[in-house]
Symmetry: C2
Subunit: 392 residues, 2 copies
């Protein structure tokens, strides 16, 4: 029998294990210092009270014969798809319920969606990037090319007519750079995709951090996108569901490639290789869309946004070039004094006991950059920025 040889081509990432090792060594040598972690890529605030209540109610339903639920629809319960449909409607995006698929998270769907595409497509991935886009395509043996994100394009690469590709990853607000495409810039990608018969996989996992109606929080706010884009979203950052696992993917019915409906292909993939999201989790996610739920989750998003603002203001004060921080929980800064990403990591750790993430861990173009996140608490974020100001 043969293994999938493509797996042998995957590179091991030592990014987070190296960070952990360096932090552990520092802690051992400097037991007196209070380390502040601004490298956290995970939410820290608890689930909203309406969500907790919804889980408990659903658990009670599951405990009674009359209200027990077995297998649910693989694509998700109608009540949740309807709520998401309404959520999009408020953004002036009209979807049909059966264009929305409930999943256990954007990461799963971003990987699994590749099942419905041929292996001979060329994939375009921005650099720096969330490593999953690259690794899932290496696993399938697809050709991968990169779009350079850098200071000159504010880490928002635009299409190059001379470069041909079939599958395009766009993440906006971006992880790790925090940069956000304007409607005009995003429209250039939609135009490119339509002209070149390409598909855009639009990762909108951080859309809840967008505070301006001028900026697109869904690619379907761009004309033509329903003919060339699949959108992935998640309750992970929106409602703190990183450990509760619920996301959704939009596959418009107008997406026809080589005469086939990608919506039907995705239905077939999901009904064959997936059995839906837990009923209790779907009820939890649905609670997010109630009026009280919206107020409660917005409080948490505002908390993280405020932390991001504290970090961004420190960069402004120090004249450090950065992206993000406004419509994103991430601040992507240029390391001062031409330090490399790891040099700056060591510099911050050794001098002020603040931990961030070296940009080089996200790709070649990340070298010389550094990511700080807003997921720690406000007190610690303020303290970290005070130390930062004193140091730099």
């Amino acid at each position: 029998m043969n293994i999938n040889q493509n797996y042998l081509k995957l590179e091991d990432s030592y990014l987070f294990s190296t960070i952990a090792k360096k932090v552990a060594e520092f802690t051992k040598e400097h037991t007196e210092k209070q380390i502040i972690k601004l490298g956290i890529g995970d939410v820290t605030l608890p689930l909203a009270p309406v969500v907790v209540e919804a889980i408990k109610e659903a658990a009670d339903e599951m405990g009674k014969r009359e209200t027990f639920r077995g297998y649910g629809p693989e694509q998700g319960y109608a009540f949740l798809r309807e709520s998401i449909k309404n959520y999009y409607s408020k953004k002036s995006v009209e979807l049909e319920s059966d264009e929305i698929f409930i999943s256990d998270g954007a990461k799963s769907d971003l990987g699994n969606i590749l099942d419905i595409f041929g292996l001979d497509n060329t994939v375009l991935v921005p650099d720096p990037v969330y490593p999953v886009y690259v690794d899932t395509n290496i696993m399938a043996g697809r050709k991968i090319i990169f779009a350079d994100a850098n200071e000159s394009n504010e880490f928002l690469p635009l299409p190059d007519e001379n470069v041909k590709c079939d599958i395009i990853y766009i993440c906006s607000p971006n992880n790790p750079t925090g940069s956000v495409y304007t409607k005009e810039k995003l429209a250039k990608w939609v135009d490119y995709a339509l002209k070149n018969d390409a598909i855009i996989l639009f990762d909108a996992a951080y859309e809840c951090f967008i505070k301006s109606h001028e900026l697109p929080s869904s690619i379907y706010q761009i004309e033509g996108a329903k003919d060339c884009a699949i959108e992935f979203c998640s309750f992970s950052k929106t409602a703190g569901f990183t450990g509760t696992r619920c996301g959704y993917t939009v596959v418009p019915k107008s997406l026809i490639k080589q005469g086939a409906s990608l919506n039907k292909f995705w239905v077939r993939r999901q009904t064959t290789k997936f059995n839906g999201v837990p009923y209790i989790v779907q009820k939890a996610a649905n609670a997010v869309f109630s009026d009280v739920g919206q107020l409660q989750i917005k409080e948490n998003i505002q908390y993280y946004s405020n932390n991001a603002k504290i970090i961004a203001e420190t960069m402004d004060k120090k004249g450090i070039w950065y992206t993000g921080g406004k419509h994103s929980p991430y601040i992507w800064l240029k390391c001062p004094n031409n330090m490399s990403s790891w040099e700056f990591f060591d510099y911050l750790l050794n001098n002020i006991a603040v931990v961030g993430t070296p940009g080089s861990g996200f790709g070649r173009n990340g070298e010389g950059y550094f990511r700080l996140t807003s997921f720690n608490n406000t007190e610690k974020t303020i303290e970290a920025m005070k130390r930062f100001s004193d140091l730099i």
Copy 2:
């Protein structure tokens, strides 16, 4: 861009939609008749009280900052892997925790595991069979061959040394036939796999229905299986989790193919394309392994087993040939009077308003057979068998 052309080779299954249509028509014409559904492939008893309580406690933890959990380990929390390790230990199977992977269900993993294998492997699937084994391999373009299950081998096909294959699916207790491999028969498959460098994908989703220690409830009870088999299991039937979604997959570290560790390949697949099972669901699953939990779920399994016995005894009384019914919730019977599967379906529906599943829906060798299930309640199962006895 190119779609995955293999999807065009998938056949649509009209099995359950045709059943639904026929039942709807019958109901419309015979409003006075009480239909009894013995075609249900889903559990109907509620979650055990310990499970409901565990979900509520976990929800409370998630609602407090000090006990909130974000991203968990993709492979599952240590507490649940440890419980499963102990569960196997009681069956005289010694595993290491990192050979156990928590998933959202056996169906997902049975499909996703194929990621780690080459596309040029030949797959052997018994016929009749759970359709997912076939469809997931059609999607990947693999060559599929069938092993005939029939009356002469009691629907338990054995390996044929003249047939070469690389990936072998075995489901025991079987869906749809309810037949169970003995240790001796299963050992023949293990021997074949070891000799031919093949991998067995062992679907143990129904293992909880096995009541005899003589019958293998894990393939690892067979010597040599850790060198050739991956086992899939689930809380779906064990603890009524079909709508709560939790399963587990065992990938022994001794599984080395072409010099690569399949355990490491699966870790890589899961960490790249999956983000773990909800914390609340893992706590719920873990509650199943408490002493009270074991008592509560065994009560439910006994309830279904008793229904199966009622059906099996009716078949015995009528001299109808069947498999299953003893260590399985399914009874797979030979249609009386040489009726075809659909003829017998219509015969039961029109004469006694009892609904089952035509065996032909599970493969070529299912023609002339019929599946009854034990998932309805006992009163209705008794009533259905009373009507059956009067008719046949």
